[in-house]
Amino acid sequence: MAKADFEIPDIKNGVSVPAVKPGAMAHVKYHPASEAHLTKLGFPAKRVDNWKEVALAKMNELMGKYKSLSLFLDVCVKCGACADKCHYYLGTGDPNNMPVARQELMRKVYRKNFTLGGKLFGGLARAEDLTEEVLREWMAYFHQCSQCRRCSVFCPFGIDTAEISMAAREIMDSIGIGQKYTLEIIAKVHDTGNNLGIPKDALIGTLEFLEEDVKETTGVDVKFPLDQKGAEVMLIVPSADFFSSPHVDSLVGYAKVFHAAGISYTFSSHASEFANFGMFIGSYDNTKKIATRIADAGRDLGVKRIVVGECGHAYRVAYSFWNTLAGPFDYLDKNHSVPTHVCEFTDELLRRNALKLDKSANDEFTVTYHDSCNVARASRMGTEPGGQFEIPRNILKAVCNKYVEMDPEANREKTFCCGGGGGLLSDELLEVRVKGAAPKVSALKEVMDNQGVNTMAMICAICKAQFTKVLPYYDIPMEAVAGVHQLVSNAIQLGDK
């Protein structure tokens, strides 16, 4: 079991609602963003002198822009339905990790400054000014929200804490207080086209390596083309697919699917990243800039279709926001969805019997599926309601003989986040990540113990990196983590095309 200098939640008997431990996670601090990154993203280089006025003006501006935000700040009736629904509360017991309390950190400032009752009666109306102490709470607890939206499923009013935490981060950035992890990554995308900062030459080398490697193992010339003008499809993947394991195994899977289907495709060196961390910090401008890179790349390459890889939050950005951020995508073929998720693409081929499969290639695996939050609760796949749940499962059942479902109370639309989403996948937040993973790991452990599961498949780069890191803290090997297209890759039979 991996060592930790904090207590690992005990999941032997599942995860139950913990006793309240006030301030249990107040000590958590993220690394601050550098002046260079803040400036590059359009924020003040350091905390401005009149930070309180600037913050309140920003809050006012955001409530004007996003009706949802001002509605969410108004309508909560403190019913408590959300209180035990957040994985970070379940894993830490810190009451500020109850969604209602997290929202309240902003709501009390809203009351104090924007409502008559709050202005007149202050604390009696549960109103509080934006003090240094409140700001510290914002910094701590708006970075213990992975913006997974599970709480919103249970809220009778549909209040979405993700939107509040995005707004809080946007307000903090606007006064010159930013988080290193997300801001550094966004700056790298603006500079190099991807989160990792992979230069074009390195990308070329990596793709050539993969061609040779796949040729060695399969004997088939599977291509990994870059900047190929006139290709039918532009494939946009999270850049972790070009770097990490097991991410790369899904990348190989996508390439094999294109090969088997005989459909030409290309990666882009200008837009070598699907992830869009602009959403995590609630920055419209940065989200738009990243999305626009992709729209431009597709137009320049003259493709007819954009297919996107296994990345959860980016799929939310693409599915829900691309059109208004960077559309219209009028250069694409109208007969396909914009974007097309790679699972939708593969599923369509499976339905047409266009792929030859040998399921027994995955017989060493008993597989379950983890629904990634942004795919499950903020998008759809294919043409049918619930397609985002059924399509990846259809693929898994087509390529594996042994497939098992986890508890639906911890999956599908009620899925528990991996614990590392929303810009929290940073090493200094490891305690939050390990504890926040407890509810999902508990659901996994149940099917491992009782149904022989040894593999959890998923379609999100953050989930893959997070589980690879945190499962060993729960005595589960990191090899249990797999991409859906990694399993496709194992089973697919490549003939000559």
Partner: protein, 111 residues
């Protein structure tokens, strides 16, 4: 910016302890960085660190893990060319911990 003291010299590092100036790196410093990670350097670990540095000098980025495992398999024998073996050498992960000891920047992103 934080600093660490090695052999009487003050070396600048970032919040996670990665070198700020790649030129500060030398073998003595690598041994000290490894010690701070509770890793003790041996010939096999040096193979990993040296390959990471060579690759970085050419491409300005650390190699994909698959490239690293294949290279290590070539150098140390096929049975060692896998992620599991690299985690045995560097329990903090071949990308993050080995890069730190090699004096390279911390890989960023969903990794």
């Amino acid at each position: 910016m934080a600093t660490i003291q090695i052999a009487g010299k003050s070396i600048e590092v970032d919040e996670d302890g990665y070198l700020v100036n790649l030129d500060d790196w030398n073998e003595e410093l690598a041994n000290a960085l490894a010690a701070s990670e509770e890793v003790s350097m041996d010939p096999n670990r040096w193979e990993v660190v040296n390959f990471l540095r060579e690759y970085y000098m050419e491409y300005k980025i650390a190699p994909m893990i698959r490239i690293l495992t294949k290279e290590i398999g070539k150098k140390l024998g096929k049975e060692k060319g896998n992620t599991k073996y690299l985690y045995e050498l560097f329990p903090g992960g071949p990308a993050k911990q080995a890069c730190k000891i090699a004096g390279l920047p911390k890989p960023t992103g969903c990794v």
